[in-house]
Amino acid sequence: MNDKFTYNILILLLSITVVFAETSEEKGLEIAKRSYENSRGYTDSQSDQLMILVDPQGNEVIREISGKTLENHDPNDGDKSIIFFKKPKDVEGTVMLSHTHVNNDDDQWLYLPALGRVKRISSSNKSGSFMGSEIAFEDFSGLDYRKYDWNYLGEEEYNGEICFILESYPKYKNSGYTKRIGLTDNLFRARKIDYYDRKGELLKTIYFEDYKLYLDKIWNADTFKVVNHQNNNSTIYKWINRELNVGLNKKDFEKSSLLKLAD
């Protein structure tokens, strides 16, 4: 036997070991990354968004906004969005601009119609309720793998499909959560995520429903169903008339853009 053969065997053995040595953290991150990339790859989007807030007695109230998003392709930064509030009617005409960041506070500005004023607001409250719903602002970017540390826990059957079980821990210090446990299907689409609050107790579950394939490559859930296990409220969040690549650019997401949308 020559040395070369021994060398090749060694390399082979070593590489097998490397494959098997993929840790649950690495596998978790890999799945989360594919899941995130699955929902990306457009440039900009616009949509109407409808929220139905339901209390434990079954009483419903409606919230309505229309929004535009600019996808950020910078690997270290987040998307930009601008939303126009429509319902409840007393906030109609209010406009909010967000420049999101991955693991820092976002930059946010509000146009307040009463004074005709644009106000920069603190965004240390990414974990606070969005318009009185069970959704927090940080949940809109909940699939962004860069915001969490990941751990693959195994597989589980969910609605007749085998799904990966992923555990994740937020990196952002002002996050409202300590841990999440979610299920991701074999098309790498998140199906549900359980959120644990700052005390480590189960807070809520978000179910991702009405998956639709956009531009033949992007999977987006057009409904988030959120159930809060502590106050028994729930929120159904629907994207309506979602259109991708309508021709928006950076200039539509500047502070001055607020006044173009404003009354």
Binding site: P88, D90, S122, N125, G128, S256
Partner: protein
Amino acid sequence: MNKSYTILLYFFLYLCLLILSKNVFALEYKSYGYIQPEFSYFIDGKGKYNQSEDKSSVFGQGTFITYLHEDSSKITIRAIGRYDDKDNNRTYFDLQKFKYEYFLDDATLSIGNDIIFWGVNESFHVVDIINQSNLAENLAGTKKLGQPMLALSLYDEIGDVSIYVMPYFRERIFPGNNGRPRYAAEIEKDTVSYESSKEEKKVDIAIRFSKVVDDFDIGISHFRGNARDPELTVNQSTLKLDQYYPILSQTSIDIQATKESWLYKLEALTGKVESENHIKIAGGVEYTFYGVNDSPQDLGIVAEYLFDDRSSNPFNNETALAIRWNKNDIYATTLLAGAYLDLRGDSNRFFCEYEKRLSDDLKLFLDASLNGHINSKDFTYAFSEDSSLTIKIAKYF
């Protein structure tokens, strides 16, 4: 013609516009507004100037927006008006916005009435100058009158520049004789005088540079034109207050730093009126405790200070302190309570404002305005018996 008829007529025209645009031109538009009946009760009984111990009024606002030519231009109308049962000066109609905007890639051209707000403070709006205030609405001057203008905004990486050319000046609206609160003497409306020979037709000019640099929002502005704030002098024959509008030149800066839950604010200006220079500075902080005690509720604190180097100005050494409680429930319940304190101890005023959504299209507002100690030589002594409780209910459509 009677004012209330004028308001009705405008309201009718506005409705016609909405119906026409929908049925005849098939325009895509947004339209919204509200009607708000209000009732105030004055806890000290009749006023210093024998005004009534209560007042009732109805405020209305309608907004209409439409985009034309594939969103390259926009028409905005915002009409406001009020009918007040006691104060004729508080019964008015105004087109706060009635403008046509044309959007270019890096610029916006706008013509018509508009409301332009400059500044960062919550209480002391020092640098805000473009629009005239309607003091009959409230003495704080936060309700503005639409300013006719031609405006050009240019957007660039270096920063944004806006230029405003204002061909027509609007006089300040003061509370009338039966208004409460009102000034100690009646304000003469018929003999307004100006430093400028062109009077209200003097063309006022303003320019503003603004930029966002990381956590800082910065604005630098210059204004030259008729002062918005008239000098009031007692007319020895009528004993009324005559209004005189001098020419004002003013350069200002406003900065806000947004550092996590802290907002740091500063507004400062140097102004020149009839060759006399003055300086005015106001600033402060805003801090919010988010999710108090692991609840969804927020508690904010605002503290601001105002300094003016003109000792003749009654507001030259003031502070405003307030707390804002935000329940973050589906009713958007909030409570704002605070105080305006004159640091020389001449006048103190306390306020409390509560609001809560009653249903999808109804909102309740409860306001209390309470006077503390007011020195009889202080300008605000005229309002010292005007502590009031107000209820407002807004119906949105």
